[in-house]
């Protein structure tokens, strides 16, 4: 951007005559077009969510709804028990985020601040758990939780989050290692215990990294379909993805895509909100953890 200026810093302004940079224009146009393309599916999602069942079947599809079916947004609460599903998803995601933050931050702190022999071995062991695909542990885990009588409760979906996750521990460890040792020395001089240093020094300084982890954990739990399908069986305990998958479940009906789009629009709300709140932290978090 500034290269043009830098290349001829001494040229008189009259000769440049404020000509518009064609590269700049081209990239601007490309950006606008790509943005439009990216937003198109989103636009169709919202547009379809406002169409009537008959209009949804039309071909070629209409761009904007012919008659705006706002009632879809109230219908979804009747056809799907949408309120219950939403609440369940929020509860599970909320506890998962809390659990992930608590456990991962604690473990990561340990890995970042203590030097012990075999440190690397344990860390590599931890990271290698990332390579185990979920289906490999699915049945043993199911048997375990089933023996604990946890089937058809939220516990199998929440409790594992309190046992840390390799990726998040890795992310936070990288961040904690960048904190200057002097801060902790100062803490020690003031008579801080380790847990207190973790809580009052490490955590407040790591807001960007924690926000990143929180968003990842939330999105993971919010979108998860397989685990709730396995562990939950009664409809009053289902989560949003299960309920939405069930909308297209019938082999015998035309799926109510318009209602599914309503559900998708509403399901997006918490993620967009969370992202909007944490955006500053989130972007910073990726930049910091990525570079250092």
């Amino acid at each position: 951007m500034s290269t043009v200026k830098a290349a001829s810093p001494l040229s008189p302004p009259s000769r440049l005559r404020r000509r518009v940079d064609p590269v700049k224009i081209a990239s601007f146009i490309t950006l606008v077009i790509t943005t439009f393309l990216m937003l198109l599916p989103l636009f169709f999602m919202v547009s379809t969510s406002l169409k009537s069942k008959r209009e949804m079947l039309k071909f070629p599809p209409t761009f904007l709804p012919e008659s705006w079916a706002w009632s879809n947004y109230t219908d979804i609460f009747e056809t799907l028990q949408f309120g219950t599903l939403y609440k369940n998803s929020l509860i599970i995601a909320g506890f998962s985020v809390f659990g992930t933050l608590l456990s991962s931050a604690l473990v990561a702190y340990g890995f970042a601040r203590y030097r012990g022999r075999g440190n690397n071995f344990w860390f590599i062991l931890l990271l290698s758990t990332m390579m185990l695909p979920y289906p490999a542990i699915m049945i043993p885990q199911f048997v375990l939780f089933s023996k604990m009588q946890w089937i058809d409760t939220f516990l199998p979906l929440i409790v594992p989050a309190f046992f840390g996750s390799a990726y998040n521990i890795f992310l936070l460890r990288q961040f904690f290692s960048t904190l200057p040792e002097e801060l902790f020395d100062a803490g020690r001089i003031d008579g801080c215990g380790e847990l207190r240093m973790w809580r009052t020094i490490a955590l407040p300084l790591s807001a960007p990294a924690l926000a990143t982890v929180a968003i990842f954990a939330f999105i993971y739990s919010w979108n998860d379909l397989l685990t709730p399908v396995l562990y939950l069986s009664s409809s009053d305990k289902f989560t949003l993805p299960v309920g939405m998958a069930s909308l297209t479940s019938s082999r015998f009906r035309i799926p109510p895509w318009h209602l599914l789009m309503v559900a998708s629009v509403l399901a997006m709300v918490p993620i967009v909100t969370l992202f909007a709140i944490a955006q500053k932290q989130f972007v910073e978090g990726i930049v910091l953890t990525g570079i250092k």
């Binding site: 071909f59 075999g118 069986s233 998958a245 069930s246 479940s249």
Partner: protein, 462 residues
């Protein structure tokens, strides 16, 4: 490694972790064992004192399956010692959840083959309870529930019964009345005995309604002849791809004939609809027009559509008038319609098979079957008396037509392979993949069928 061995800290950590694990699992195990003992004490004596037991019915989470929840209160009133719990999963996850439930020792009591896996697969995996003794002990008679005898035979292997039929879907023709009116073509008959309704006449009628234009919005086709699963289609012209012994051999055919001239000729006739007569859409066109609904007929772009009777259930939502007709006569005396009969099954690991059978019997009674039609939005019952109610269920369609089509379909029907051949989901996937180049016009049947023959043989032997 040496370092680690010497270092004490990891060892301490490991010990702590192990202790914690043992503590947790021990604690959990103890608790669960206690609970099981307490909960199951009822099961032990369930035969005797009529103590309360809970049975679970595992099904697909969709309106046309979960309607049974509404039937439970009445059943529990009549059977105070039995409680019914419905467990569900979305269609796509039905099979994997069922396998996990069984592997995890949480097997449901009653279910059906509602997922991709069929009866033969369950049977061969030894998942099903042999109901023969239960039926004998109970004095259950199919006639009392108006179940046609030939339907009971479908889920009987070597004289042992493994399932009770509950719903029966047939293959029929749906047609777009508006399109017939616009082209001035007379409606096709619903009577299977009307032998003037032939495959050739269908093609002639279809030509009058086909309109291919550069504007995709204006293009419409006369007929969509996607008749049953791909491997079954030759049967319609009388060519048999699987050997006779499939039905007596536990779903394992000793021979298949997918590369025989008769079978190839039968497929050729169907593909000619697309590429020679050009009265049927290509698969690409169907996909682009139908989008995720998967059916261009629903979008009003097809005159006649051969499909399962489940398509009727959505009929009240279609943006045009529809009628039902017989599947035209393909020149073969027997097979014109595929039957898809869904049974209720009791799983082998069921702890309360007797109570589960009570629940199945309840679902089979005429009164409940009649109620189920309305509650499910149009599931066709096997109970012939309840079927009378089913025929009247569809707005704008003459009940006489539905009845004729159903009765003709049963007379000229053939039970679908998809429930009765082993490893069927793999066979079906393979067919979809291998036939794709033919459907898009990139390969000929002569090139593809020997490959399919080889692959089917391999899958069956698995």
């Amino acid at each position: 490694m040496n370092k680690i061995m010497k270092s004490k800290r990891p060892a301490v950590l490991l010990t702590t972790a192990l202790t914690a694990m043992v503590a947790i699992s021990g604690c959990g195990g103890g608790k669960s064992a206690g609970n099981v003992a307490a909960g199951d004490s009822g099961a032990g004596n369930s035969g005797g004192s009529g103590e309360q037991v809970t049975i679970s019915h595992y099904t697909i989470d969709s309106e046309d399956r979960t309607f049974i929840e509404k039937l439970i209160p009445e059943f529990e009133k009549e059977h105070p010692n039995i409680k019914v719990k419905v467990e569900k999963a979305p269609y796509e996850q039905f099979d994997s959840k069922l396998q996990t439930l069984i592997a995890g020792g949480n097997s449901p009591d009653v279910t059906s083959h509602y997922g991709y896996g069929g009866f033969a697969e369950y049977y061969n995996k030894d998942m099903l309870l042999d109901l023969t003794d239960l039926i004998k002990e109970d004095g259950f008679k199919a006639e009392d529930y108006n179940i046609p005898g030939n339907l009971m035979k479908i889920y009987t292997v070597n004289g042992r019964t493994y399932g009770i039929p509950v719903n029966m879907y047939v293959t029929l023709m749906l047609y777009n009345k508006d399109m017939f009116d616009a082209a001035g073509v007379s409606y096709p008959p619903s009577d299977y005995e009307d032998k003037s309704w032939t495959f050739e006449r269908m093609v002639e009628d279809a030509k009058k309604m086909t309109l291919v234009s550069d504007d995709i919005a204006k293009t419409q086709y006369g007929v969509d002849f996607t008749w049953a699963e791909r491997d079954m289609r030759p049967l319609y012209f009388g060519a048999e791809p699987y050997s006779e012994d499939t039905w007596t051999n536990g779903g394992v055919p000793s021979e298949t004939h997918f590369d025989s001239p008769e079978v190839i000729a039968a497929y050729q006739k169907l593909f000619d609809l697309v590429f020679k007569d050009k009265v049927s859409p290509t698969s690409e066109w169907s996909k682009s027009v139908a989008g995720q609904n998967g059916d261009p007929f629903v979008a009003g772009k097809i005159g006649m559509s051969i499909g399962g009777s489940w398509n009727l259930a959505g009929a009240n939502d279609f943006p045009f008038k529809i009628g039902v007709a017989a599947v035209p006569w393909g020149g073969n005396e027997q097979v014109r319609s595929t039957l898809f009969v869904d049974p209720l099954l009791i799983l082998k690991d069921s702890k309360h098979p007797k109570e589960a059978f009570e629940w199945i019997k309840y679902l089979m009674t005429t009164e409940v079957q009649e109620k189920s039609i309305e509650l499910s939005g149009g599931n066709p019952p096997v109970n012939t008396e309840a079927a009378e109610v089913y025929y009247k269920h569809f707005d704008g369609i003459d009940p006489q037509d539905v009845k004729k089509v159903y009765e003709g379909a049963v007379k000229y029907g053939y039970e679908s392979y998809n429930h009765l051949i082993t490893n069927y989901s793999q066979i079906n996937d393979m067919f979809i993949n291998e036939l794709q180049p033919v459907e898009t016009g990139h390969k000929t049947l002569e090139e593809v069928m020997p490959v399919i023959q080889k692959k089917v043989t391999e899958i069956i032997k698995r």
